[in-house]
């Protein structure tokens, strides 16, 4: 396993810029996620790492070595696609030994290596099956085993969960996360699903419109989003306009002491996560307009005194709240995050 880095990489297709001056360093053994809406350039970034697209500007490095102009078959990367793209003309075992065979690994050794991987992924009994006959979850494991069999510098996962049942997705997310942790494989995980990225990745790069918006650990990104785009894309965010003066944050309807000295003075946007709105006590009253039961909690929309909407989470114990009720809420100074860039 290796460190992999994109240094100031730009990729243009004719007149459009798919990836615009993006730098990402993935540490040895790290699971890095790239998330963003469709068309944000995340898949192009993955294809640049794999070598299926050539960069227009910038450098791709594996362990510090420039691989920008090395063709994909000599880069030694493991790819798992959304469709898994298994070879239906071969058995599961032949799929897994295909990579080592191409790398001239001896027959005995590649068989042993494949069996080991199949066992690790708990699919050794599928070795002689045709991939076509497998379920989605099984195909995913075969795809993983095939990619891991070449002991790649980096494992590239392109939306590997899309198309699976919601429940299966949850289970596989845990298993895959565990596996990547255990194997200490350097991994690049591309997805539009921020929940998956948060639970599986060590760090996450958020892309939008070809740009890198923010890169950081899941909690950094969730709790301290760099701008409104990140705040809105990762989780649910309440964005409120405030005036900051003398370390006092004024919402118009209530005031708070700012959490430490603020770099902004004047008008600013603050973000409050729904789960950070304290319900049941406090100076602000909201009128509930909407309730969505979600099992663990109830997501509610309330109207603030100034008419802005606020999303909040109610505990299941508040299950008897109905539309039209008023609830008292409070914000904790530590839970509001001032967004400095408005992009």
């Amino acid at each position: 396993m290796s460190e992999v880095s994109l240094d100031n990489v730009t990729k243009r297709f004719d007149s459009t810029v798919a990836v615009n001056d993006v730098s990402i360093d993935i540490d040895d053994g790290e699971v890095m996620g790239i998330v963003g809406p469709s068309g944000c350039g995340k898949t192009t970034a993955l294809r640049l790492v794999a070598g299926f697209e050539t960069v227009s500007e910038g450098t791709v490095r594996y362990d510090g070595e420039d691989v920008t102009h090395i063709p994909p078959e000599n880069r030694n990367v493991g790819l798992v696609f959304q469709s898994y793209a298994l070879f239906n003309n071969m058995t599961v075992l032949q799929n897994v030994t295909f990579g080592p065979k191409m790398h001239d690994v001896g027959k005995e050794e590649r068989r042993d290596r494949a069996c080991e991987l199949l066992e690790l992924l708990d699919i050794e009994e599928l070795a002689d099956r045709n991939p076509k006959t497998l379920s989605g979850g099984q195909q995913q494991r075969v795809g993983l085993a095939r990619a891991l069999a070449i002991e790649p510098h980096i494992l590239l996962l392109d939306e590997p969960m899309t198309g699976l049942d919601a429940k299966l997705k949850q289970t596989l997310r845990q298993e895959l996360g565990q596996l990547l942790d255990d194997l200490e494989v350097t991994t690049l995980y591309v997805t539009h699903d921020q929940e998956q990225a948060m639970s599986m990745c060590d760090r996450i790069a958020v892309m939008n419109d070809g740009h890198l918006e923010q890169i950081g650990t899941p909690s950094e990104i969730y709790e301290q989003p760099a701008n409104e785009f990140v705040a809105g894309f990762i989780g649910t965010a309440n964005l409120l306009e405030v005036t900051i003066e003398d370390e006092q944050v004024s919402f118009g309807f209530t005031e708070l002491d700012a959490p430490g000295p603020q770099r902004v003075d004047g008008t600013a946007t603050v973000m409050i996560r729904p789960d950070d709105v304290r319900v049941g006590e406090g100076p602000v009253s909201v009128e509930i307009t909407n309730l969505f039961y979600q099992g663990e909690h109830i997501q509610a929309t309330g109207l603030l005194p100034d008419g802005q909407k606020l999303t909040l989470r109610l505990d299941r114990s508040l299950g008897d709240v109905t539309t039209g009720d008023s609830l008292s809420i409070a914000f904790d100074p530590d839970d509001i995050h001032v967004i400095e860039s408005t992009r």
Partner: protein
């Protein structure tokens, strides 16, 4: 489908002058075909059939070599002029008669050799091969499969031969059967180009009709259909 059944049935008849064949069941026609004792033309139906079969097969081989990569390129890549390649490869526009004449004018010395027939067959029937193979390619995620193989260390030619082609097996087989049967039955082109030696099947049949031994021909055609059926089932 009806004429096929009709032909097959009549190949066991000894006469066919009215609406329906009569004089069942005789194996004489089949005997003629298989043992080459047929009357009518100056050669046995059997050798004519074998000749056509061989020529058509050679045409199919050329089609495979040319048609599969074309079908792949059109299905996989988005290149300039792609639509034109597609239209020219697929629309079976060139009638055999025109191709035959152009051929004769361009290479007058080739006219009697089997090579002319083989090249002509492969040009005429290439569209069917391209179409059939393309439909196989379109049903698989070519790009992801190809890129998976390459990321695993396979060079492009190796990827093409060990992964892409085997996965399009159904289409390649269907395309081969269709273009082979059509080539074996092609009349126009054969008529223009053929001058002496063993006649291709279509010419033989044509000559036989005037010579009124149509039932021999029917047996020959039946052999031909049986062959196709057997190949189709075997694959």
């Amino acid at each position: 489908a009806f004429p096929v059944v009709m032909t097959f049935v009549s190949s066991f008849a000894s006469d066919w002058f009215g609406v329906l064949p009569t004089g069942f069941v005789t194996l004489a026609n089949w005997q003629d075909v298989i043992f080459g004792t047929g009357v009518g033309a100056d050669v046995a139906v059997g050798s004519s059939l074998a000749y056509s079969t061989g020529l058509a097969l050679a045409g199919v081989v050329i089609n495979l070599i040319v048609g599969v990569p074309i079908a792949y390129a059109v299905a996989r890549y988005d290149f300039v002029g792609r639509d034109w390649v597609n239209v020219f490869a697929i629309l079976p526009l060139a009638p055999g008669i025109i191709l035959g004449i152009a051929f004769l004018r361009t290479y007058p010395d080739l006219s009697t050799s089997g090579i002319a027939l083989v090249i002509g067959y492969s040009l005429l029937k290439a569209p069917y091969m391209v179409m059939a193979v393309q439909s196989s390619f379109q049903s698989m995620d070519l790009q992801q499969i190809e890129e998976s193989a390459r990321s695993l260390g396979a060079s492009w030619p190796r990827t093409f031969l060990t992964v892409i082609v085997p996965n399009a097996k159904t289409g390649i087989i269907a395309g081969s059967i269709i273009s082979w049967t059509l080539a074996a039955a092609e009349f126009n082109f054969s008529y223009i180009v053929y001058s002496r030696g063993t006649p291709p099947l279509a010419i033989f049949l044509f000559n036989n009709i005037t010579n009124a031994s149509f039932l021999n021909a029917a047996a020959a055609v039946s052999v031909f259909f049986l062959l196709i059926a057997l190949v189709t089932i075997a694959l």
